[in-house]
Structures are given as C-alpha cells and as structure tokens.
C-alpha cells in the first residue's frame, strides 16, 4: 500500500508564505485577509481606520442610492485636501513678497506642483458641492428627526466651516482674483450692523486686505479651521453611532 506523501507546495504558495507569514509582516498586520464573518467584524472593530464604522449595519443603508456616499465623500475630500494642502505648505510662504512668486514656482518648477495645486483647488470646490448635496440628501430622507436633531445642527456648523475653509484659502495665491474676491467678501462681512466694521478689522488685521490679512487667513486656513472642522466631524461621526446608526423608518 502506497503511502501518500503530502504534495510539495508550489512556488507561488511558498512565495506567498514568505511574504505574508514572516515576522515583520505579522508585526504590522496581526491577521491575514478576514474571510470569516467573525474576523470581518473583528477587523472593523479593531482597525484604527475602520473603527469609525459599526461592525454591521442595516441592509438598506448599504444601498448606494440611500446616501450616495455623500457624507463619506465629503470626509474623503477633507482628507485629500489635508494631504495636498500639506504638500503645498512645503513651498508656500504667506508673505506679500513671496506668496505670488511661490505660486508661480509651484506651477512651473516644483515637480508635480501644478498637479498638487489643481487637485487642492478642485477638491475644495467639490467639497463645498458635496457637503451641500449631503445636506439635501439628509433633508429629503427625513434623517434629521429625533434622535438626530443635534447632529443636524452639527451638520449646519460643518457647512459653515466648509465655506470658511474655502474662503480663507481663496486669498492665499495673492493674485488679482484672490485679492478682489476677499475684498468683496470681507466687505460683505463688514456690512453687519454694529459689529461689522469691528469684525472686518479683526479678520483683516487692518482696514484693507494686506500682509496682516494674508497671515491671518493662512493661519486660519491651515490650522485653526481644519482643527475645528476635525473636532466637529469627530462629534458628527460619534453621534451617528450613538444615535443607533443611520436613520430608518421606525
């Protein structure tokens, strides 16, 4: 009677084994691809990037036509803007003498600089549109109703923050478009009754758009407002979970 010897593992299997079962890999990824329901839930619950999600959700909410991914895409734009924004920061100095020259350099001499700038610009426009559309989807699905009242309010705050982020970024290229758009925009703010002129002065650091305005807008744009937005987004996402996931009929 012939004894069955185990087949020798193929080259592919051995390579796979070497690559994914070695000490270094396992120190990073503790498990392999999760192919059982138990592991799939575990990976969502224990992975730092995935744990914003619940491990399971109602089946109506995975239909694309329920959310059109609009909230998720708004967040994705925020992340993409952070990445491209940090890359732009390496080359940009917010001073009246340098800002415009730096923009020209980004477009002409920096490797992929034009691409980075374009991405940042178009993503910013996309985010404004996506956030607005997300608000419309939440409204027309009646998802602001109890117990989600306050998350809607947080959403309105996020909408304002999105506008402000985009507005403060608009000045930074320091070209004619930027300068006059911010002049017009801050004049609108300056028209507020009683507090208007003061708040305009405070925003610009003077009576006109100049060096002080540039550094203020820059600081707000790269750290102040993103930090605020990140905090409100954290609360927004946390509340979605606390309110029992996305809204569905009672």
């Amino acid at each position: 009677m012939a004894v069955e010897t185990p087949a020798k593992p193929s080259l592919a299997d051995r390579l796979y084994d070497k690559m994914f079962h070695n000490y270094l890999w396992k120190s990073i990824f503790r498990t392999g691809y999760p192919n059982t329901p138990r592991n799939q839930m575990l990976i969502v619950a224990t992975n730092v990037f995935l744990h914003l999600h619940p491990t399971r959700l109602h089946r109506t909410h995975v239909k694309v036509t329920h959310t059109y991914c609009l909230g998720g895409l708004s967040f994705f734009m925020f992340l993409g803007l952070t990445v491209t924004g940090i890359l732009l920061m390496f080359y940009y100095v917010p001073s009246v003498e340098r800002a415009y020259l730096d923009m020209q350099n980004i477009e002409t001499t920096v490797q992929f600089g034009q691409l980075m700038r374009n991405m940042h610009r178009w993503m910013a426009h996309a985010m404004v549109i996506l956030v607005f559309m997300h608000m419309m989807r939440v409204f027309y699905t009646g998802a602001y109703k109890p117990p989600r009242e306050f998350n809607w309010v947080i959403g309105v705050i996020l909408l304002v923050l999105t506008f402000l982020l985009s507005f403060t970024g608009y000045l930074l290229p320091w070209d004619q478009l930027a300068f006059w758009a911010i002049t017009v925009g801050t004049n609108i703010a300056g028209a507020a009754p009683v507090l208007g002129p003061k708040s305009r002065f405070w925003l610009l650091g003077g009576f006109e758009v100049g060096p002080n305005a540039l550094i203020r807008f820059y600081t707000l744009h790269v750290i102040g407002l993103p930090l605020l937005a990140a905090i409100f987004m954290a609360v927004h996402f946390w509340r979605i979970r606390r309110d029992g996931g996305l809204a569905r009929p009672l």
Partner: protein, 287 residues
C-alpha cells in the same frame, strides 16, 4: 440605572434590527472604496485637463470690473444688489442658518424618517417649492434690474409712462414717488443714540422702505403665502410638509442667486447673458 440628575433624552436611539444587518466588511467598505477611487480618478483627470486659475499679482490699485467674491458667496453678492448691505450680507444668511438649524426642533414627528421622500405629497411639494423658488427669484431679479419694464416696452409696446415709472424697479419707489419732505427725516428718538460709530435718531422712510422694508417683506411674505396657499389647497398637512416647501424653495432660490451672480453679472454688475460677460482687468489708479 439612570440617576435623577440625568435629564430624559429627547429621544432614545433606535433599537437595532439585528436580523436585517449585513457586515460592514466587505459590503460597505467595498462601496466606500469604489466611491473614493472614482472620485480620485475623476479629480486627477480634471486636474490634468484644467489648471487652477492664477491671474496677475494682487494689486490694490487695479480693480477688475466686475470684482466678484468666490462663487459660493455670489448668492450673497447678488442679494446685495437688491437691498441694504447688512440685511443681504449678514442678517439674512444668519437668520436662515438659524431657521435651518431649528428644523428638527420644529418638525419632530418620526413620520417618513429614513427613506427618500417618505411622506405623502413630499415629491410634489418639493417640486412646487423648488420651482416657485426658481421662478420667483428670477422674476424678482428681472424686475429689480429694470428688465421687466424693458421687456414689456420692447416686446409688447407697453410703456407705463410717468404714471408707472415708480414700478420700474425697487429703487424707483423711492425716487419716482412724490414723498413729502418730512418723510425723508422722521425723528423717532429724542437723543442721538450712537453705537460704535453708527447713530440712530432719524429715519429716511422711503430709503428704509426700498432697502429694508420691501425686501424683508418679500422674503417673509412669499414663503408664508406659498405655504398658506398649499395648506388651503389641502397639500400641506404636517410640519414636515411645510418644512419641505420651505427648504425646497430655499434650494431653488439659492441656486438661481448663485447662477445669476456667477454667470449673468457683467461689468458694473449689469445683468447680461453669460456669453456677453466680459471682465475688464482694470486700469491702474481707477476704481
């Protein structure tokens, strides 16, 4: 478990329906991944095809004509052409944001929650609200820019002559009517009240009327009338219905204001067709 100090929550989180649930990995993560990839690719493509604008270096002495705010603020800039600056630029948007934030505290019924257009009539109401917002805003803009009078004259040979000149646009109510002199300076306070440089003592009534009175009246009356009419017509039953009309009307008006401000305002903020829109880069020293 709850202690006396804990206020009763406004509403409890919805209980889960475990047998209706699917796994986030892979069902949701997969969709998110696809959506993210589609957007990344589309944005890369757009960035290869179209460069972000960069004009000449900023110069406070050269004013482009027209000077425009970023596009998402052009709705406010458009509003600014028709009324008092504080009203258009600050008060109206602030009040609207507060009203919108208060939606869930006004409409608290769980009816139709969590599904697209979940209540009866909601699609109809959204369309009506949206259309009235679009058409109404266009109408008001055309009227106030004097285009309505122009069309009536040009197309139908109807000219109001001097009798109806005061209806040409909002401002002409102030300039074309024989207001008595006293109405332009009505003293309402015995002292001059000064709050941070602004004084309050006399009222220029015709000016107040066209810059604040009429615009406020229109913005309050139009939506109220629409909701009232739809209620009488038996289409609005609940608070949700009213809020749907209000929100849809807002979206329509917002859209028109943004589009007009962006594509229909030429030099001197004149109302023109998009293909006639030219921007003068400005002449040094001339504002």
């Amino acid at each position: 478990m709850a202690t006396a100090a804990v206020a009763r929550p406004a509403a409890k989180p919805q209980p889960r329906a475990r047998d209706e649930e699917v796994l986030v990995w892979p069902d949701l993560v997969f969709i998110e991944f696809i959506a993210a990839m589609v957007f990344t690719l589309a944005l890369f493509l757009l960035s290869f095809l179209m460069n972000a604008p960069l004009l000449d270096q900023a110069n406070a002495d050269v004013t482009p004509n027209p000077s425009k705010a970023p596009w998402y603020l052009l709705n406010l800039q458009e509003l600014l052409l028709h009324m008092n600056a504080a009203l258009a630029g600050v008060i109206v948007p602030t009040i609207w944001l507060v009203i919108m934030g208060a939606f869930p505290y006004f409409d608290r019924d769980n009816d139709g929650q969590g599904v697209w257009f979940g209540t009866e009539n909601s699609i109809k109401l959204s369309i009506i609200g949206g259309l009235v917002g679009i058409v109404g805003t266009w109408f008001l803009i055309l009227w106030d820019s004097g285009k309505l009078a122009f069309f009536l004259n040009d197309w139908f040979g109807f000219s109001g002559g001097d009798t109806f000149r005061f209806l040409e646009n909002v401002r002409s109510i102030q300039t074309q009517l024989p207001w008595p002199e006293w109405s332009r300076e009505i003293t309402y306070s015995p002292w001059n009240i000064v709050i941070i440089g602004e004084d309050f003592q006399n009222l220029d009534f015709p000016g107040w009327l066209v810059e604040q009175g009429i615009p406020t009246g229109v913005m309050v009356a139009f939506p109220s009338l629409l909701i009232f009419a739809l209620w009488r017509a038996g289409m609005i039953f609940t608070r949700r219905d009213a809020v749907i009309v209000l929100f849809s009307g807002f979206v329509g008006a917002y859209l028109v204001l943004t589009v007009v401000g962006t594509a229909f305002r030429g030099q001197g903020q004149e109302l023109v067709f998009p293909w006639q829109l030219k921007v003068s880069e400005g002449i040094p020293g001339q504002h």
